[in-house]
Symmetry: C2
C-alpha cells in the first residue's frame, strides 16, 4: 500500500501562559522553538528528520533564519504552523513557514536555509544522497511566502561591545552547542522591559556562521540604524566569540532586528 | 446535564529534541514548565485556572515545589503528567504530580504548595471563597505521592556569593516577575557541562519566599553538604535580592538540589 503524504505539513500549538512575556505575547524564542519543532515533525514524517539522520551520523544545521510577524499569539491562543520545502540544492535547502491563528488568518511568515552535515567530519552532505534524493518530491514552489528574502549587511567594526555573556549549561543543546534559539533570547535581553512594552519585533534575521560551545565567551555588539519611520527601530547585532588564547575574536552570528511601536 | 469530571487529570507531552540537554535528557526546567502547565490545565478544567482567576483579579502563587525524578524523559519520548489536589486549607493547597512514561511506568513525583492572592492588594485569598469552595470536591487523599515532603533547612550565612545575575526580559513572566522555572535554569547553570554529564538531579526542593522583578540583581550562594554516599551530591542554594538603596540583601528563594551519579 502506498500512502501519499502531503507536501505541506501543518502542526498545532498553544501559546502557554508560562511562555508569555509581559505583554501576554508568546516569547519570540518560544515561537521559534515551535517553528523548529514544526520543521522536525515535517521532515520526520517524510523520512529526513533529525532523529533518523542521527542513525546515519548526519544532522541538519540551520544556516539562515528570517521571521516576519504581524501579530504574536497571546497567552492561551491556539495557533498552527505550516511548513514546506521551497527548494533544494546540493548543499542547501530552503524551508518556509506560515503562522496562522485559529481563524486561519496569517500571523507571520518565516524563511530558513539549512545544510546537512556529517556529524563526525562536520563536512556538508549532498542532500540528494539521502533516501535517493526523495526530498525533491516535497518541493512546493507554488506555495507563497510573501516576506523579503535574506539580506546582506556589513557589521560595523567600530561599535563598542554592548554585552558579554558566557555559554552555560542551559544554553546548550543536545550536541553541546549554543542552542539556535538561545541566540534570540540573549539578543532580545539587550533591551529592558519598558522598551519591550512599547516595541514589538516585526522582522528578525539571523545568519549563523560558526558553532559556539559550552564555556565560550560571547561579545555582543549592537548598532542602531536610523529609520525613516519614527514608529520603527532597527538594530544590527554582531555576536563574536572570544578566542582568549589568540587574544582575538571571530564573528559567529549576526542578526538584524526590526521593531515597531504598537 | 451534569458532567462528572474526574479528580485526577492526565496530560500528554513530548520531550522535544530542542528542549533536551547534552545527555539527550529533557531539561529539568522544561519538565517543570510541563508540570506547571498540567496544573493549569487541571485547574482550568475545574473552573479555578489562572485565566479564569485573572477575571476575578486573583492568581495562584507557587510557594513550595519538590521534585524527585528517577529517570528523565529522553529526546522524542512521549510521557504524561498526572496531577491532583492532595488537600486544601484556607490559604494553601497541596497539589501533587506523577510523571509517567508511555508504558505507564513512573519516572518521578512532584509535590507543590500554592496560595491564591488578590493581584491588586497582593494579599492571600480564602480558597473556600472561590466558586463556593468547589475545589474541595477534587481533593484526592487516596492517591499516593510516595516522596518526602518539604524539609526545613537553615541557609548558611557564611557562604561566599557564587554568582551574581541580573533579571532580564527573557527571565520575566507575564506579570513581570522572575518566572518560577527560571530559578531552576539559573541554579543548574552553576555547574559545568562535565558535572551535568556525570550527575543527574534526583531531588530538588524550592521555597519561593519573595517576588523578584525585572532589573533586580540576584546573588546566588551555594554550599555543598557532605553526603554518606560517594555517588550522591547535595547542595543548598540561597538566592538573595540586592537592595542597593539600603545596601543590604534579602532572601527571595532557597533550593536544595540532590544529584546522583549515573
Amino acid at each position: 500500500m502506498t500512502t501519499t503524504i502531503s507536501k505541506i505539513g501543518k502542526y498545532n500549538f498553544t501559546a502557554e501562559a508560562v511562555h508569555c512575556d509581559i505583554k501576554q505575547n508568546l516569547f519570540i524564542s518560544t515561537l521559534c522553538h515551535h517553528i523548529l519543532r514544526a520543521a522536525d515533525l515535517h521532515s520526520t514524517e517524510r523520512n529526513f528528520g533529525m532523529n533518523y539522520l542521527k542513525t546515519l551520523n548526519k544532522t541538519w544545521v540551520l544556516s539562515r533564519f528570517a521571521l516576519e510577524i504581524f501579530q504574536m499569539p497571546k497567552a492561551y491562543d491556539n495557533f498552527s504552523i505550516e511548513t514546506w520545502v521551497e527548494n533544494v540544492m546540493k548543499n542547501f535547502t530552503a524551508r518556509n513557514f506560515a503562522i496562522l491563528n485559529q481563524a486561519e488568518q496569517t500571523l507571520g511568515f518565516c524563511r530558513s536555509i539549512w545544510s546537512m552535515i556529517d556529524t563526525e567530519t562536520r563536512h556538508p552532505i549532498d542532500l540528494f544522497s539521502v533516501h535517493n534524493g526523495e526530498i525533491v518530491n516535497y518541493i512546493t514552489p507554488e506555495k507563497d511566502c510573501p516576506i523579503a528574502g535574506f539580506s546582506n549587511w556589513k557589521t560595523n567594526s567600530n561599535t563598542k561591545c554592548t554585552k558579554q555573556i558566557q555559554i552555560l549549561y542551559s544554553d546548550c543543546d543536545s550536541n553541546g552547542h549554543l542552542n539556535s534559539v538561545k541566540y534570540i533570547d540573549h539578543v532580545l535581553d539587550l533591551w529592558d522591559l519598558d522598551f519591550h512594552k512599547t516595541f514589538h519585533v516585526c522582522r528578525m534575521e539571523i545568519a549563523y556562521q560558526a558553532e559556539c560551545y559550552f564555556g565560550d565567551t560571547l561579545l555582543i555588539y549592537s548598532t542602531e540604524i536610523p529609520t525613516e519611520n519614527a514608529n520603527t527601530k532597527e538594530f544590527r547585532i554582531q555576536i563574536c566569540k572570544l578566542l582568549a588564547s589568540e587574544n582575538t575574536e571571530i564573528e559567529v552570528s549576526k542578526l538584524k532586528v526590526c521593531f515597531i511601536k504598537q
